[in-house]
Amino acid sequence: MIAESHEEPEAFAALFDRHWPTLYRYVARRLGREVAEDLVGEAFLTAFERRRRFDSRYADARPWLFGITTNLISKHRRAEGARYRALERTGRDVTAEGPAERVTAAVSARAARPALAKALASLPARDRDVLLLVAWADLSYEETASALDIPIGTVRSRLNRARRKVRAALGDTNPLLVEEAFS
């Protein structure tokens, strides 16, 4: 599909149809609906311009597209932090106003939202990117490594570090073994 798009940009639309909803939902979770629409549009335009780089890097478009999207999200770090802090204060996700949310969201999950939001806001951007690509974009470790251009070991390390903070925020006080003090 990508190879076809080198000569026939319309073929790129098929890629859009396949991946736009997934990317939109991912960005909407991180930055809200309005930003998501524009940002994912930018991501696809960027992807189109870089399409010649695609087939030389990845066998699957998803990590490549999420890599581009993550770079664009990085330009909205402040807005993302503010969003998590608002969720921490109110416990209310501004994207969760539709009837579907009232049906699907479990009470326990809703109750945990402020704590989760606080944990997300406190994470370094590099750890948060890994955590959310795995948890929200459903990328494998290998796909996350490709998307972010880092070794798989770094994906594991950043994910574990982020999860420790999330677990601590959820009140899991015994996920860790503290061995010794370091100066």
């Binding site: 190879a3 940009p9 319309e10 790129f12 639309a13 859009f16 736009w20 939109y24 939902r25 909407a28 979770r29 609906r33 629409e37 549009g41 930018e42 696809f44 335009l45 960027t46 189109f48 311009e49 780089r53 030389s56 890097r57 066998a59 770079n71 990085s74 539709g98 579907a100 969201a105 326990s108 999950a109 939202r113 989760l116 939001a117 955590l131 795995v134 948890a135 494998s140 470790y141 290998e142 490594a145 251009d149 070794p151 798989i152 070991g153 770094t154 994906v155 594991r156 390390s157 574990n160 420790r164 999330v166 959820l170 996920p175 860790l176 073994l177 503290v178 061995e179 003090a181 370091f182």
Partner: protein, 325 residues
């Protein structure tokens, strides 16, 4: 996994949502791509077309061979010192094949210190350092948090075995030590079947996979395999080597790149071990980047050659206990 489940539930109400903006976004993309195709046909864009073989002669003459979309060739002054990829990579292969190598024990630990830097990172030119320990079998990890060493025994689970140092090592040891047989094995693994004359695409995929195989093995690569990997890279199309690259820590290193991505693999010129990678700004913004720049969402004023992103290893050591360096 309770934490991941609860996290996944945040925003899952969006899962069934198909926003009204979808048709409009699709139309915008189509219009934009059609417009760019017309422009692309009208104005041939300068694009570097370099091969290892051509470069050997070009570097000797102090020139870089560049091609255009119309197939014309021009000679332009070099901006970087280029070296024959095959010569440098053969030298690297010879050096690494002579070193000793021992597979760590499953319960030994790897201490890894890394640095991240570049114009597109929060720290800019100033590197951000990170360090952690991972047991060779991948069952535990450790970091220093709040001045304390924290060992995480929930590190296991998730990801394939290739994601652990032991798994990455086993995968590497299963590969052929003859370069062409190695490429054939990797082609089969990644599904990069040759497609007519589209060599660079296939070779780009192989290059990226070879680099990732090496970077995924923090305990090092078996010498004969590493030598074969370097010699295999040298046979790929559009491979360039620059022996005067400086990484974000000020270290002079060897940069190896394939195609026109601007992404360089960095190799230590003394040990010939892979240190990491960095992306370099080529000074040719895409129309999208130009558009984003109007909204201050992209910085096009970076000097050509600026590193936009780098991720390198500072130290790697095999130790008996987490916390040792």
């Amino acid at each position: 996994m309770k934490d991941m489940k609860m996290l996944a539930e945040m925003g899952e109400h969006l899962d069934g949502e198909m926003p009204a903006a979808l048709p409009r976004q699709r139309q915008l993309l189509l219009e934009a791509t059609r417009g760019r195709r017309r422009r692309a046909r009208g104005i041939p864009r300068l694009r570097l077309v370099l091969t290892a073989g051509v470069l050997a002669g070009a570097a000797a003459a102090g020139l870089v061979v560049a091609g255009t979309g119309s197939g014309e060739r021009h000679l332009t002054p070099p901006t970087i010192q280029l070296d024959s990829a095959s010569v440098v990579l053969d030298k690297a292969a010879t050096a690494v094949s002579a070193r000793s190598y021992r597979v760590p024990l499953p319960r030994q630990w790897l201490y890894i210190k890394t640095a991240e830097y570049g114009a597109n990172t929060a720290g800019g030119k100033r590197p951000t350092f990170d360090q952690y320990w991972i047991r060779f079998d991948g069952r535990q990890e450790a970091v220093i948090e709040g001045g304390k060493l924290v060992v995480d025994d929930k590190a296991a689970g998730g990801g394939s075995d290739e994601g652990t140092p032991q798994g990455a090592s086993a995968l590497l040891r299963s590969l052929p030590t003859e370069p062409q047989a190695l490429l054939a094995a990797l082609s089969s693994k990644v599904g990069a079947e040759p497609r007519g004359d589209s060599g660079p695409g296939r070779d780009g995929l192989l290059f990226a996979n070879i680099v990732q195989l090496i970077r995924n093995a923090p305990a090092g690569v078996p010498p004969k395999i590493q030598a074969a990997l370097y010699r295999a890279i040298a046979t790929l199309h559009e491979v360039r080597v620059d022996t005067n690259v400086v990484d974000g820590l000020g270290r002079r290193v060897i940069g190896v790149t394939q195609g026109t991505t601007g992404s360089f693999v960095l190799i230590n010129p003394q040990t010939y071990q892979v240190l990491g990678m960095q992306n370099v700004w080529g000074g040719h913004p895409t129309p999208t980047e130009s558009m984003l720049a109007k909204y201050k969402k992209a910085n096009l004023r970076l000097p050509v050659g600026t590193v936009t992103y780098g991720y390198v290893t500072v130290t790697t050591a095999v130790v008996d206990h987490a916390g040792q360096r």
